[in-house]
Symmetry: C2
Subunit: 246 residues, 2 copies
Amino acid sequence: MNNKLDVFISSQSFQEEDLRDRTVVVLDVLRASSTIVTALHNGAKGVIPVGDMGDASKISQNLDSPHYLLSGEKDGVKIEGYDLGNSPLDYTTEKVESKTIIFNTTNGTKAIKRSGLATEVVIGSFLNLNTIVEYLQSIENDITLVCAGWRGRLALEDLLCAGNIIAELVNGTLPEYVQDGAKVAFGLYEKIGDDIEDAIRNSNYAIRLKDIVSEDDLRYCCKRNELKVLPVMKEGIISDFHGEKE
Amino acid sequence: MNNKLDVFISSQSFQEEDLRDRTVVVLDVLRASSTIVTALHNGAKGVIPVGDMGDASKISQNLDSPHYLLSGEKDGVKIEGYDLGNSPLDYTTEKVESKTIIFNTTNGTKAIKRSGLATEVVIGSFLNLNTIVEYLQSIENDITLVCAGWRGRLALEDLLCAGNIIAELVNGTLPEYVQDGAKVAFGLYEKIGDDIEDAIRNSNYAIRLKDIVSEDDLRYCCKRNELKVLPVMKEGIISDFHGEKE
């Protein structure tokens, strides 16, 4: 592969035009990306990301209620009346198989919505890292990794995930001329190495939400290459294209 | 010092509220910060940062023409009819002594303008790094380093400067709980070490503007601790408080 590679640290740190005609990977490790990947792995038909509760209820009115689940969080907590929150471990086969999930989340959705000019949008996390890398290696298109971040800020877990993807993509040696964001993400990967879980346990997000994000959630979201899922957004719905696109 | 320490990678990557009551250091290494520091060192009375040419000409109408200089760049190039561009090496004693400089620049000014809720805004660069660090060590207030970045993006030279400031501030050992942005900046410092000039020569900005930013400019902006200047913004004017505030 010889694609141009870029990284943005949050959904506010780029112009939408910067993503035009590129393949975009959205990373929201804690926890939207990890939850989407898990839901699809456990048989959910699709995930519809929405930006607020109003959108969520509008979409749900057009779907038969046995076929969809309302899910998502505000400030880390499950929204009242919703079927599921944002803990990936809640998205079991029993609960999500064959369902369409209307997924309301703060930062991850914002990043996805701002990727409208991209050729395609895929969802990445540590869990499906290898599947993402294999897919990116198979395409010719330029690649941008968009970290969801938190309210415009850098979130260490997302940038670290970007760094890990880059390291696999370039086989451990960064070409001299890549974008500054890619250099910084790769540098973070080199610094942290395999101490992913420890680094993320001490990240701002994990500390801020330590009463909400369980230790199990945290440990789960830090696992590399657990699931072979390639979540791709098509006409507003994210579904699994693993085995079809690579 | 035991202040809380934060870093933002661009002027778009925070809410203005995030800076409330904090001491903010604005970093725009290539080249606005370096130019402001140089101008003050060479005897300029003050620098008035403005966001566009309209503001610049409005302000200039209220000043006697022998006492001010219109200066600044658009996309790296001196604006037509202006006295000076954005090359710090042009801001010689001969040209700037006792003058007030109306300074029109893209990213640096945006960062300054978004710092309205801060207790105080100081301007940092590699050139005046030690003076900035000494000042920050002397205060009790929480500190945010705001990298100007480029159109919302991360700019390696600014984040690297932030990392260098942090390294001096914490004497080389980062406390476990600092903001993610500070960790990433510090990690970049550790990775690059003394190869500042090389790293910045290969940064996006230097490559993008390699026909405009001279080799002399680049080398100059990468020099650490050349000038003892503490540029502080008061009522819209940046002047040198070195020797007064520390």
